[in-house]
Subunit: 430 residues, 2 copies
């Protein structure tokens, strides 16, 4: 066993600071688990004020990444910078100098994960990334180990806490999107620039990481079709409730043979299922396999403490391996066959909401347009009539239909003289 | 790397048969994950008819355990016999002959786990037991690895599918216990002799295993206070619903300093929390730690396929270690300080249901008895009056109170002339 394992930390922000604090505050417990003490040998941080604030000796801080990457006393580099660059170059260089790496970086792992994991295997080091998806919830490790015997067929995930918080408030309190977003920002659940969360990018990165592991194919961010939540209106939530659904931003990955369906968008989820009951900033990931059936993992998907839980578990795992003289795990095996279905080919049920002229025969014209595209109607609600404007609102739930047909029908309906507005369409997962 | 890893299988029942089938049906995938093929070299099974039924060559079957335990071609023994003896002796002997062991046996792990794990560490082999709790749901492995950085403070678990199925039927359809049990038996969710499930023993074994791992102390089955579900009546479910609760058989383990509270019994669980929504034969385990907050693991807790998912994952993990030339993990570290609080010292809220004489002043007498034990009342329902018998039913929800005081008050109330019957008391977890 080594007398001490040297740790280099890149970044002392919310996550990095949490890791530094936990590594020191729990030194004894961690040393017992790891087999020897873990010692922070260097921290990359531009802001010199952060060290003293976290009781970190000034001599540990550096503004030069090379001082960490090339330090022979450092065995494990923890990357907690976030963002694509320079994080991924630092991870790459750390691997090239023979260091193990632990990262919480979803963007780097989604965009460069396979390449970095392959490089790590070549250089006989490990790259662990449990914290990159779902904060402290074990997800990567179950997919890499516990569920290995399964042929995984589907992942359904609520993996963006910001949007789940906003949708929960909209659903429970009838808030509009802008107000719910503002509340989330005030509570620190949404960033000043919330684009990556609300437009689905963040969830798409995480889904690419999970799908790559689950399906043993390289799923790249550009393989993921994604939509955000900003077009949802309070009345969509009212209709959803009336029909027995919750609205969630769902990350969906399904596999049939070599064909994948990988997408992130708002869905109607039947109120009865457990995922529909995941509220607030919580995350939940449901994985379906041939042996296990359905398993679901639930918890806080972000935050300094949960994220450092995952990072330190990865660090302890690496330290144990180092102490046991273990060479790193098997190389990543990826199936070269990959067919990603375009979203136009998916088949699902749809919720359609539109404003129409309030006069006889309108529903007939709409039904005819849907019928021509072989879309059959499961239920219709016509409720709110605006007497002044002489318009009515119609909500249609369809039976399963192909996305391409639905899009075509929506275009044709928008062109009908009696249709004032196609207000929304939302896919349904039962 | 070894050319092939030899597997010995003890038992070809539901679980063993599932494992044999999966090991063969998924041979190629498993070999890729494990690093080399896994070959079944021998199967202990008394019933010679089972081999042909599962397409297993007769020469692999034996009725003598020694032929497995002493076979030098076998690297890993899978124990799928169930029950305490001879399973635990076979596990012990396999360890003594230098074999790694994978078991699904909750009774053996609850009663002899620490001793067997210590023996395994001494003999430089591994004993893995993911399948012993929660079927295919990853629980042991998250506690051993992913949550290592946490100080675990509590476990709340629905870990017996039979009782959860019965309680779900009683809650949703108003069935009485006997009818719901009979339905469960007809569907194969309850055994002909259901005692171990319905009286809480099975859940107590599983909780002892989880608590030992989570708290790093040896929790023995006799440390677990347990009660079953047979005293629950349809009207308890009706009152629960009216008050906003579900009734679940909950396994609870809490730690404060060195003091543990470990018990299995029916509880009122607020309908709002996710655990209350776990229905049917599903299991769910919520773990609370200082870094992760709350995480919840959910899935099928039993059955041949989910259980073989966990067993094969353990086998693959061992095969990888063997192929990487890895010596087994760190020794089990257990804190010798253990104080298990007697149930009389726990403090919680209570639901009390009783039949009383229907006349003025009765509630006053009951309130006085409770008050003398410093138990304060949170709410009272008095609804059903039996005019013929001149009795009424009273339901009381208390504020948090000590169990000893509540038991004393219940005894005193039972002795009151106006109290015809103390019908039930159920602890409340909010």
């Amino acid at each position: 066993m080594k007398e001490g394992i040297g740790i280099g930390l890149l970044g002392l922000g919310v996550v990095g600071g949490g890791v530094a604090k936990a590594l020191r505050g729990k030194g004894e417990t961690i040393a017992r688990q790891a087999g020897s003490p873990l010692e922070i040998k260097g921290i990359l941080e531009r802001d010199p004020a952060k060290g003293p604030r976290l009781n970190i000796e000034p001599e540990l801080l550096t503004t030069e990444a090379e001082k960490i990457i090339n330090n022979p006393e450092i065995d494990i580099v923890i990357e907690a910078l976030g963002g694509e660059s320079p994080a991924w170059e630092y991870i790459r260089d750390s691997i090239l100098t023979g260091k193990h790496v632990v990262t919480a970086n979803k963007e780097v792992m989604a965009k460069h994960g396979v390449e970095l994991l392959t490089l790590a295997a070549e250089h006989k080091v490990n790259l662990l990334y449990e914290a990159s998806v779902g904060g402290g919830i074990p997800l990567i490790s179950p997919l890499k180990q516990d569920l290995l015997a399964n042929d995984i067929s589907a992942i359904y995930a609520i993996i963006n806490g910001t949007t789940n918080y906003i949708l929960t408030r909209m659903g429970k309190e009838g808030l509009d999107f802008a107000t719910a977003l503002k509340q989330a920002q005030e509570l620190g659940y949404a960033e000043a620039d919330p684009s990556n969360d609300v437009n689905g990018t963040d969830a798409a990165y995480k889904l690419a990481i999970l799908a790559t592991l689950a399906f043993h194919v390289e799923v790249r961010p550009e393989d993921v079709y994604y939509e955000g939540i900003s077009r949802l209106a309070p009345r969509d939530f009212r209709y959803a409730k009336e029909l027995g659904y919750a609205i969630k931003l769902l990350a969906i990955a399904k596999k049939e043979g070599h064909s994948l369906q990988i997408q992130v968008h708002p869905v109607f989820l039947s109120e009865d299922i457990l995922l529909a009951k995941v509220d607030g900033v919580f995350n939940a990931v449901q994985i379906e396999g041939d042996l296990i059936g359905k398993v679901l993992f639930y918890g806080e998907g972000a935050g300094a403490l949960p994220t450092s839980s995952a990072i330190i578990a990865d660090v302890i795992c690496l330290a144990q391996s180092i102490n046991l003289g273990l060479s790193p795990g098997l190389e990543l095996w990826l199936d070269p066959n990959k067919i990603v279905k375009p979203v136009s080919e998916i088949e699902t049920r749809y919720y359609l909401r539109m404003t129409v002229t309030d006069r006889p025969g309108v529903l007939g014209q709409i039904a005819k347009t849907l019928g021509e595209q072989l879309i059959s109607i499961s239920s219709v609600i016509q409720k709110e009539t605006d007497r002044m404007a002489q318009t009515a609102e119609i909500v249609i739930m369809t039976h399963p239909a192909r996305e391409a047909a639905v899009q075509k029908a929506l275009n044709e309906m928008a062109a009908l003289e009696v249709v004032k507005e196609i207000s929304n369409f939302i896919r349904v997962e039962d």
